[in-house]
Every structure is written in structure tokens, then in C-alpha cells.
């Protein structure tokens, strides 16, 4: 596919923006053109956070997404807000520990993963978004596992590099779910 357009959305503090950045970085390491655009409006204060990531074979035009080939949501309001932006046959991945309902659409692929629960059982709830990214990688092949690991090394400060094996474990759980 020539251009993948991903919206990642949830509450501030869940690692939404970092997850998007990791994905974009991995895309760049694949040799693709990428952009990452965070929401920086007033809604960030205590409310929802989201970011738009584009990974494309061609130069990226507008970094603002009016539609998405994939949507990752980590809370209910984000599903309400972005569900209709997903293209037909697109993918919705939800953290079913936090999102109570399923999508209303039946023309999209849907995966619900209790990511926060799984991550908490692993001992670190911040891995939840990595698990969801794993599902995205597994379903779409958007970036390789190797480049995701390389992106982790680039993005994470050195003092957190000891977490990378666990993050990769979380990614694999998502990929196989």
C-alpha cells in the first residue's frame, strides 16, 4: 500500500503521542516518507490526546488526516470521535480494557485487545499502547519488527534501554493476538 494513515487516540498520559512517534520513526527507518502531527489544542488539558501519523512511499502532502486507514483507540470518547474517519475495509484496534463498546461500523476490520489488562499483568501498564501497535504491525506489516526495535533505541533515552526487551515482548503479544 502506498500510503498508510494512522490515528492514535486516548487520554493524555497513556503514551499516545510517544506511540505515534515510535511508529513514524520506524517508518522513517524503513526508508518511507513520514509525518507525525500531535493534537495540541485546548482539548489536551486533561482530555483526549491524539496524533496523526502518515507513512508513505511518496512525499507526504498534508499531515492532517481527514481519513485513516487504521485507528488505534485507548478510550471510549476517541472511538466516538474518530470511528467515522476510518476508510472502508480499514482497521480499528481498541484497548478493550478501556473501551466498553465495539464499533458501530460493519465495513471495517475490528480488533479488541485488553491491552491495559495484559500490560498491567506484565507489571507496566504503559506497555498497553505497544501491545496495540503490535496488533497494527501484525495486521498490516506497516513496519518491520526490526525497525520498530531500532526506533525504540533511537527514541528512548539510554537510561530506559533496559526496558526494550520487555517492550518487544509486549509488541509480540500484540502481533500474535
Amino acid at each position: 500500500m502506498s500510503q498508510q494513515e494512522i490515528i492514535i487516540a486516548g487520554f493524555g498520559g497513556q503514551g499516545i503521542l510517544s506511540a505515534g512517534r515510535l511508529l513514524a520513526y520506524a517508518g522513517m527507518l524503513e526508508g518511507k516518507n513520514v509525518s507525525w502531527l500531535p493534537s495540541y489544542g485546548p482539548e489536551m488539558r486533561g482530555g483526549t490526546a491524539n496524533c496523526h501519523v502518515i507513512i508513505s512511499d511518496d512525499p507526504v502532502g498534508s499531515p492532517i488526516l481527514n481519513s485513516a486507514t487504521a485507528l488505534i483507540v485507548m478510550n471510549g470518547p476517541s472511538l466516538d470521535k474518530f470511528e467515522n474517519l476510518v476508510v472502508k475495509d480499514g482497521l480499528i484496534i481498541a484497548d478493550s480494557s478501556l473501551v466498553q463498546r465495539k464499533p458501530n461500523r460493519n465495513d471495517v476490520k475490528y480488533s479488541g485487545i485488553p491491552a491495559t489488562q495484559i500490560a498491567s499483568d506484565m507489571g507496566n501498564s504503559t506497555y498497553a499502547c505497544i501491545i496495540l501497535l503490535g496488533k497494527l504491525l501484525g495486521s498490516t506489516g506497516i513496519v518491520s519488527k526490526e525497525n520498530f526495535e531500532n526506533a525504540l533505541k533511537k527514541v528512548l533515552p539510554e537510561k530506559y534501554h533496559h526496558m526494550i526487551p520487555d517492550e518487544m515482548k509486549a509488541l509480540e503479544i500484540g502481533m500474535k493476538y
Binding site: R21, M28, L37, V60, G61, P63, N66
Partner: protein, 352 residues
Amino acid sequence: MGEKLLMKGNEVIAEAAIRAGCRHYFGYPITPQTEIAHYFAKKMPEVGGTFIQAESEIAAINMVYGAAGAGARVMTSSSSPGISLKQEGISYASGAELPAVIVNIVRCGPGLGGILPAQCDYFQAVKGGGHGDYKMVVLAPCSVQELYELTVEAFNIADKYRILAMIMGDGILGQMMETVEFRDKEEIYEADKSSWATVGTRMERDHNVITSIYIDPEVLERHNQKLQAKYRLIEENEVRCEVYNCEDADVIVAAFGTVARIVKNVIKMAAKEGIKVGLIRPITLWPFPVKVFEKYAEVPKAFLSVELNAGQMVEDVRLSVNGKRPVYFHGRMGGMIPTQQEILDKIKEILK
């Protein structure tokens, strides 16, 4: 070129400034450009530079005046309401012919407005937001890579002509991350500032005086004539513009910065429907690419200026096209961004 990095636009501006030899930054925080100050606060001590969070925007621009007067490469940055506060200093620095770089990551107004992207400061930047007959070179990047390249360029132009250069972006450019490749070494215009800057007399010459006051009207007129001659020279030499897909275009869209990116997507959509859309993207908003519009004035059926404001650059497009073709306008305000579809609909409406 070096390693490919994924960086935020605002951070790239600051990194570019440091690479261009800027060692003095004075600013006051305001969304959506505060990451520029963050980056300088962290990096300036590492390179032996000065970072000061001033007590206000007005203080910051006057610190810029002082440092530029002493011959230093210096920068300040802000967003719209803060840039309004700096206008007095901008006029004074222009009168005193001081080189410096000012960044405006524009947000929507008027007044405090909102923090979302806008281009509503076009008039203020290119027509003179402060008093007097002065001009600033205004550069409008449309990507993170261009934020880097044009920031370096802005310092060189400023030094070459002793003029203020402004980088005008918006919250999307400032906040987004995109791939950037830095050069190993920058080409820096080395200006000899000793003839005018307050770099010390060593008791060997008279004082250099940095001023914008000229009480004698004949002297002041001559000073103004000198400024105007310099502006004409810049108009001759420093126009930058991207022309895309304009040969045989049905409609040529004029757009700068973020909007130009959206328009490039529109061009692809339109092509699928058999409509040929071109883009003229002014990179220097002043000097405006008048000759480029003149060259293409009779190519399309009409021009369309798309902006994040109520219609500002469209006036310069109309002046340049000079009545040879109709010039339409489509704009959004308040932080709303036009969708590709709505721009395409407007193009179709024009062609009806």
C-alpha cells in the same frame, strides 16, 4: 548530508539557528512555539551561547536590538499576540538596519484568539506591522526540512543586507515531526560588521552609533531612500518560489506554508477527475514572487488563493496577475483547516 532524523518543527528551527552560528536567543513563551525556547534553553549553554527568557516580548525584541547592534547573530521567536508586542522594536531595528531573525509561529486572532494554525499575520509581516516605510524579508517554509534550510538562509540574508528576516510558520509546522537531514557544515555568509556594529573602537576610530533617529528631514529622507534602494535590491535578488504543475493548468492555486501541502494533495485528486491544477507557492512572502505570477498570468482560466485567513495574500496575487485573469479566494479562519475536498469543490465551482 548527515543522518536522517525525525524532529519537531520548532526544535528544528532552534537547531538550525545554532548551526547557522546564532549564539543569542531572547524570547518569552507562548503556544504553539514554546519548544523553540525549550531547545535553546537546553542547547545554548552547551555551545557557549546565551539563552534568556525575557520578562516580556517587548524586552526580548529590545535584547535582540542590543545583541544585533553589537554584531551578534541573534534570534527571537513568538506567536501572533507576542509578535504584535514586538512591533515597536521591529520598526526601530529596521530603521537602524539591524540584522536579526524573528520567528512567528502564527496562531489565530485577532486578540488572544486561539492557539490553532492560521496565516492571519500575512499583512502584519509583509506590509509592515510597525510604523514607517520598512520591509522585512519574510520566509514561509512548508516542511520541517525547509524550516531548517530557510532558518539558516534567514540569518545569511539578514547579515547580507542588514535587514530583519522573519520565518513565518504555523502550529502545524511547529508541532509536527518530519524527517530532517542536516548538512555537515553550513554555508555561512561572513559579514564584516566592523564598519557599523558596536564591536569596540580599540581607541582607533570614532564610535559606531546604532540609531533610528534622524532629526534633519533631508538626512532622514536620504536614509529612507537608502533603505528603499536596499529593498529594491532584495526584490531583485532574493525571491524564492516553488512552481508546481503550472504548464497548461486549468486553475493555478496560490498557497504558502501548510496550505500548499494540502493543495498538492488536491492536485492529485483533481488529476483523477481530469482537471489540471497548478500551484505557485511563494517561499518569500516578501519579496513577493510578482514576476512568477506575471509569467503564468495568462496560462490558467483563473487563479485561486487559498489561505488560513480572511483573504490577505490574495491582494498581492491580484496585483501581480494585474487583471489578466480572475483571482478567487478561499479561506478558513479560527484554526479551521480546509479539507482537500472543499478546495477541489471550490476549483470546480470556478471552472463551471
